[in-house]
Structures are given as structure tokens and as C-alpha cells.
């Protein structure tokens, strides 16, 4: 079953096209990351799915059905900012959320404990720090143990311990079989937490699929020799690399992570009459990959 399917979704704000015909689907049981730089349309897309923004064109389905408030009730959603009544306590805000969701009224102590807010449950929301507000929003999502969670930048404003806790929580929920759709501009967050990813750039879908395939890191081996042309010729008979680039007096060889054997490259060149004057193994950073995909 598809939890979410989006078909050719477009959204214009006046002349600005925030989403340009985005289509993809999210399968049950996945942790699906929506990755993109600021302003790429992640929150706009989630806003449309949650019916707080009107699409210019295109359709979407939740649980393979036309979406309505009943389908939204089955999802724990945290979108953009923690939205609560400032004059009410965490406890009372969660009581309202549970009443709206029609589930989780008895679950409030558990979710407050889960996000370490039990001690402050009777404090007004307006007295909370940004991190506490964020944690309360996550607690509200978890009310009634929903099968699907939609989280927009869930670790925003959290301290390093809080970030680690939330990521651990997402992994635990995934192990329990929950489906999690998570928007983030943090590449390493998506890489650490998600099983699948859709990358957005200026409102367009760049790529979607398995996170290990799309965000796979590559090892780069840089080699150099006095006779670069001969070096290029003998590299043609070398196996194992996926791609090569020639830069000035240097050749870059791209290998899947962990498959690089620098010694054998050196031996291959030497056996073919080339003495290398430069041999260096580099790790391609995730950031470089991200820039490659989104630029």
C-alpha cells in the first residue's frame, strides 16, 4: 500500500513557482526523507498534503484514497513550527490535540515522558524554550501511536543530545513498522535516518529512490605522472572504478565506497611502465554529492 502518492503537484505564489509538477510515492514502512535546500518547496508540499495550502494543480492521495480530515487524523504531523496555545500548559495543549485527533487522550503521560517534558507539563507553552516547544510538537505527533508520522525539520532548534534522541526515536519507530516522512535540509540527517529520499531543487524533483543508491558516497583516487597521456592509456585497462575525470596533470578515479585498492592501482601503473608521482585517496563528502545533485 502506498501511504502517500503525489501526482504532478504544482504551487504558484503569484509569479513564483514553488512546486513544478512534483510526483512520487511513499511506500508503507519506509523512512522517507524529503531533502532540499531552503526554499526548495519541501514545506509547501507538506502543507498541501495537510490541506493548509491550496495546490495550483495536481493531485495527491493518502492511504490510496482521496484525502480528508479522517485520513489526516491517522497521521502525526509536525509542520514547520510548533503551533500551540501560548496561554495553556503542555498538558492542556495535548488534551486539545488528542480531542482533535480523536485518539491519544490516555497517551499524554507516555508521550510527555518520551520527550522529557513530564516535569514541565503544567507550565505555560509561552514559558518554553525553542527546544522544549519542538519536543512538545513531537510529543503531540506521537499521541495515540499513529502508524504514519510527517515531520518537517524535526531536529530544528534542538541541542546535540536532543538531535541524537530524536534521530534514535525515528529509528525505533521505523523498527516498529511505522512510516515516517521527514523533510530536512540536513543531508547527514537524511542519510543517517532515512531509507528512501526525494531530492527537491527550486520546486522540481531532482531524483527519488533508495537512499543508499542516491546518496552513495564515492571514494576518489587521484593519480598523476609525468606522461599523463600514457597514464590515461594504461588506466583504460584498469578495472573496478565507476568513472574517471582528467584534471590538468591529474586523473581522478571514482570507486564505490570501500572498494578502492590503492596498492593495486600503483602496481598496475608500475607494471605498465608508469611511475606515479602522485597517488592520493580522497573521500567524497556528502555535501559535495548534495551540491552535485542540486546545482
Amino acid at each position: 500500500m502506498s501511504i502517500l502518492s503525489i501526482e504532478n503537484l504544482c504551487k504558484n505564489y503569484g509569479r513564483v513557482q514553488a512546486l513544478k509538477g512534483v510526483s512520487f510515492s511513499v511506500a508503507k514502512g519506509t523512512v522517507f526523507g524529503i531533502l532540499g535546500p531552503n526554499g526548495s518547496g519541501k514545506t509547501t508540499m507538506l502543507g498541501i498534503i495537510m490541506d493548509i495550502l491550496q495546490p495550483t494543480s495536481g493531485t495527491y492521495k493518502l492511504f490510496d484514497e482521496q484525502p480528508d480530515e479522517t485520513s489526516r487524523r491517522k497521521i502525526g504531523t509536525f509542520l514547520e513550527t510548533p503551533n500551540f496555545y501560548h496561554y495553556l500548559s503542555a498538558q492542556k495543549n495535548l488534551e486539545i490535540a488528542a480531542a482533535l485527533k480523536e485518539r491519544g487522550a490516555n497517551d499524554i503521560p507516555r508521550v510527555l515522558e518520551l520527550v522529557n517534558l513530564t516535569q514541565r507539563k503544567d507550565s505555560r507553552f509561552s514559558t518554553y524554550s525553542l527546544g522544549m516547544k519542538q519536543r512538545l510538537a513531537i510529543a503531540s505527533c506521537l499521541l495515540g501511536d499513529p502508524e504514519v508520522l510527517i515531520l518537517d525539520e524535526p531536529t530544528n532548534g534542538l541541542d546535540p543530545v536532543g538531535i541524537a534522541e530524536i534521530r534514535q526515536l525515528i529509528k525505533q519507530l521505523h523498527q516498529q513498522g511505522k512510516t515516517i516522512i521527514m523533510a530536512s535540509h540536513l543531508l547527514d540527517e537524511v542519510e543517517k535516518v532515512c531509507t528512501h529520499v526525494a531530492i527537491l531543487k527550486k520546486g522540481e524533483l531532482v531524483v527519488t529512490g533508495d537512499v543508499n543508491e542516491i546518496l552513495a558516497n564515492e571514494d576518489i583516487v587521484e593519480i598523476g605522472a609525468t606522461d599523463i597521456q600514457q597514464l590515461e592509456t594504461i588506466i583504460g585497462t584498469l578495472h573496478g572504478y565507476s568513472n574517471k575525470k582528467i584534471q590538468d596533470k591529474m586523473i581522478q578515479l571514482f570507486y564505490p565506497v570501500g572498494t578502492t585498492d590503492v596498492e593495486s592501482i600503483n602496481r598496475h601503473c608500475f607494471n605498465n611502465g608508469i611511475t606515479l608521482n602522485h597517488l592520493q585517496l580522497k573521500k567524497k563528502s556528502l555535501e559535495a554529492k548534495f551540491f552535485e545533485l542540486t546545482n
Binding site: 503551533n83 496555545y85 496561554y87
Partner: protein, 275 residues
């Protein structure tokens, strides 16, 4: 809808502004009427022994229905203000978005606010009804009578109109301070324009002998206001033949038309816009 009303109650029962404004309104109804009663008894009556300005007993039955409804109507900006704040709070805290995300429809969100306008108007009307009985039996100059109870119904209509205007302004403007300013400026402006329209209608009647009625009462707030007359309108009564007629049926019909307009405009705004 009962579920949604319970949720609205959860939102407001601990809200200080709700407690303060409601208390002011409830006290204001009794205080404003008592003030009018006191003024009539201790200022007007001694100065006007012949009853030229005001004759009869405005706080005795059956006049008390009109008197209390009229003076209580002067307090109706308060519940309107409260509803305005409650609606704009949702936009300020962005909880209108969260309510919809968590599982109610845009239609339900709007309908429960408009239902709150109706319930608030009803509670205000019950208070007025109680005030009528208290003053009527307290002054006790005539036997109990339901004659004139239609004024309480007009009060309800006026309260509902004010509340719906407040909700519409809240939904359109969204920011609390700005919305409150728009609400009061609109009230002030409409009353000014209403007065100009009345003068125009008087001139048309005088110069062309065409009676278009009190055109000031054809505007949204004044349509509801125009149904409730001041019990001390002696000078207005004396000048009656120069004034345009009061087409009560027309004003009543307009009041209903405006209410329907407010309802559909509020709904449309919430259904069609980005939240």
C-alpha cells in the same frame, strides 16, 4: 459539532481575556441599565415633572423589554471583541493550521467559530432576559407582560450581527491588534455614514416627497441597531413627520441578508485561501 464545541471550550475556559471581557459584559449589562434607571429617576424626572422628555416608566412592564434590550445593546462591542480576539489568536499562534492538520476540516473550523458567535449571542440574550425580569419586578410599576418581548429577539439579532462581523474581520485581517482597530474604525465609520444617509433620506423626503425610509439602517451594523429604538427618543418622536418611515420589515430582511453574507464570506475565505 458537540465535539468541536467542547474543544472550543477547552481553548477558552482558562483564557484570561475571556474571563475578564465576559465579566465586564455581564456586569456592564446590569450597570448600564442601572445607570439609565438612576439617571431617569434622579436627573430627568425632577427636571421634567410634566414628562415632556420622557413619560411613563421605561423600567416597568411592558416598556422594560425595550429599555433593557436597548441599553444592553450598547455593550455588544465587548462580546464581539472577545470573539475577534479568539479568532485572531488562532492565526497568531498558527493553531488554525494545527487544528486542520490534526484532523478537522476547514469547513468545521469556520462553522464552529460561527456557532460560537450564535451561542455567545444566545448567552447575552439570556442575560438580557434576566436583567429585564430583575428591573421589571424591581421597579414594579405595571403588571408583568410579554408585550414588547420582540425587543429581546431584536437584541439577539443585533448581538449575532456584531459577533459575525467580528469573526469576519478576524478571518480577513488575522492580526489581533490590526483587527481590533479595523473593528472599531468600521463601527465608527458605519455610524457616520449611517447618519449621512439619514440626512440624505430626510432631504429626499422633504424636497421630492419620496419616502425611502431611514437609509442609515440599511448598512450591516445599523440594520441590526435600527430594530432597537431608544426608549427616551422623545425628540425623535416629535419630529416623526419630518423623518423617513421606519420600514421594520425591510431592515429585518436586510439584517438576515447581511448575516447570510457574513456566513458565506467567512466560509469562502477559509475554504479558498492558504492558511
Amino acid at each position: 459539532m458537540i465535539k468541536l464545541l467542547k474543544i472550543e471550550w477547552m481553548k477558552i475556559k482558562s483564557y484570561n481575556a475571556f474571563i475578564v471581557i465576559s465579566s465586564f459584559f455581564a456586569l456592564g449589562i446590569f450597570a448600564s441599565n442601572y445607570l439609565a434607571y438612576y439617571f431617569k429617576k434622579n436627573v430627568i424626572d425632577p427636571a421634567d415633572p410634566t414628562g415632556l422628555i420622557s413619560s411613563g416608566s421605561p423600567f416597568g412592564f411592558p416598556n422594560v423589554w425595550q429599555t433593557v434590550s436597548y441599553y444592553s445593546g450598547l455593550m455588544l462591542l465587548l462580546p464581539g471583541l472577545l470573539l475577534l480576539i479568539l479568532v485572531t489568536n488562532e492565526f497568531t499562534y498558527r493553531t488554525h493550521r494545527q487544528n486542520i492538520i490534526d484532523g478537522i476540516s476547514r469547513t468545521q473550523f469556520t462553522q464552529v467559530k460561527l456557532l460560537m458567535a450564535g451561542i455567545t449571542a444566545l448567552i447575552c440574550t439570556v442575560l438580557v432576559f434576566v436583567a429585564v425580569l430583575l428591573f421589571g419586578f424591581f421597579v414594579n410599576t405595571g403588571s408583568f407582560s410579554f408585550s414588547g418581548i420582540v425587543n429581546v429577539w431584536y437584541f439577539f439579532l443585533k448581538a449575532l450581527t456584531y459577533n459575525c462581523i467580528a469573526i469576519l474581520i478576524g478571518v480577513l485581517v488575522r492580526r489581533t491588534g490590526f483587527a481590533i482597530a479595523v473593528f472599531f474604525i468600521y463601527t465608527f465609520l458605519e455610524n457616520g455614514i449611517s447618519l449621512l444617509l439619514l440626512v440624505w433620506a430626510i432631504n429626499i423626503k422633504k424636497n421630492h416627497n419620496i419616502d425611502l425610509g431611514n437609509m442609515g439602517n440599511y448598512l450591516p451594523m445599523n440594520a441590526a441597531d435600527g430594530l432597537l429604538y431608544s426608549p427616551f427618543a422623545t425628540f425623535t418622536n416629535m419630529a416623526r413627520k419630518f423623518l423617513p418611515s421606519d420600514y421594520t420589515w425591510l431592515v429585518l430582511a436586510l439584517a438576515f441578508i447581511y448575516l447570510a453574507l457574513f456566513y458565506f464570506w467567512t466560509q469562502r475565505r477559509m475554504l479558498k485561501s492558504d492558511l
